[in-house]
């Protein structure tokens, strides 16, 4: 197992990356198949959840975040919190406005 790690901590195992890729392709096929079905108000959340799962796989393995030092995870978390704050604030505005729709 020692040989599977480089000095930066990233994995040097081809098989690991190929299995992540197979997972990504499987999730893509799932999301395309599901788009033909009607989940009413859950349609958007399901598609977003699959996209989030795929992004976590790409960031975690392909971008090596899983193997990197903790500071990168903190950075990413801060970035995501800022983005979600902006979305929530925008939707507070949209939902409570009366002059649109």
């Amino acid at each position: 197992m020692e040989n599977n790690k480089s000095h930066t901590g990233a994995s040097l195992n081809y098989g690991l990356y190929i299995s992540v890729w197979l997972g990504l392709i499987a999730l893509t096929m799932t999301t395309v198949a599901l788009s033909g079905m009607n989940f009413a108000s859950l349609t958007v959340p399901i598609a977003i959840a699959i996209a989030v799962a795929k992004s976590v796989m790409v960031a975690g393995y392909f971008m090596h975040v899983k193997f990197d030092s903790k500071i990168f995870k903190i950075f990413i978390a801060v970035c995501i919190v800022i983005f979600l704050t902006m979305i929530v604030l925008t939707f507070f505005d949209l939902t409570f406005r009366t002059d649109i729709k």
Binding site: L12, Y14, Y17, I25, T31, V58, M63, F83
Partner: protein, 214 residues
């Protein structure tokens, strides 16, 4: 005497090639966050207009080509795999294999752009483009949808092009042995950029091509 001078030369050259790979990586990530927030702003715009014009967005998204969208998704995911494999191959000192994988990645990127060209051409032929003849007949919500579609996939396509330019330089550096297993951070950073472009597409694809209401 000669031994002493050799030591001095080694020390000097070591000082000369001093690098901080971790700092370089942090710098790249900080840049990637600015990219995320650039696209994030547009994702918020998309969410707001989808909220206001949900029916029109569903109708408009049915007219996008799901097959081209799916094929492009698979192409981009595969290119992300081959770039990470290429970096791994170079770390394992398998230079030829690394070059092959990098070339494969670049071909994937080009294929993505070629598909995008055909997709946009088909839309433009139908008069669906900003200020196009067909756009005048569409309701406001659908005009917003196609506007966002062109801006967001266009900006994303531009990023694919920039990634390809990065990889062209990396390819030259690898061929000239300026990037080797001991000095790979430039390649890793370009790879990070490519994966980010992939992640953005992972969100663009369902939001524009797949989410229809019934």
């Amino acid at each position: 005497m000669s031994n002493e001078s050799e030591i001095i030369v080694t020390q000097n050259s070591e000082m000369h090639i001093h690098r901080d790979d971790e700092a370089s990586k942090i710098g790249m990530w900080l840049f990637l966050f600015t990219e995320l927030l650039l696209f994030g702003g547009m994702f918020i715009l998309y969410a707001a207009y989808r909220f206001m014009f949900s029916d029109a967005f569903s109708i408009a998204s049915i007219r996008l080509d799901r097959i081209i969208g799916s094929v492009n998704t698979i192409i981009l995911l595969t290119s992300s795999l081959t770039v990470v494999l290429s970096i791994t191959a170079l770390k394992r000192n398998q230079k030829k294999f690394a070059i092959f994988l990098l070339l494969f990645t670049m071909i994937c990127g080009l294929l993505f752009l070629v598909n995008k060209y055909f997709e946009w051409s088909a839309k433009i032929q139908h008069g669906i483009y900003p200020k196009g003849p067909e756009m005048a007949n569409l309701p406001d919500g659908e005009v917003m949808f196609y506007g966002l579609y062109y801006v967001m996939t266009g900006l994303h396509g531009l990023h694919v092009l920039v990634g390809l330019i990065f990889f062209t330089f990396i390819l030259i550096f690898v061929l000239k042995n300026k990037i080797t297993s001991e000095n790979i951070q430039k390649f890793e950073n370009s790879g990070l950029y490519w994966h980010l472009v992939d992640i953005i597409w992972i969100f663009l694809f369902p939001l524009f091509y797949l989410i229809h209401a019934y």
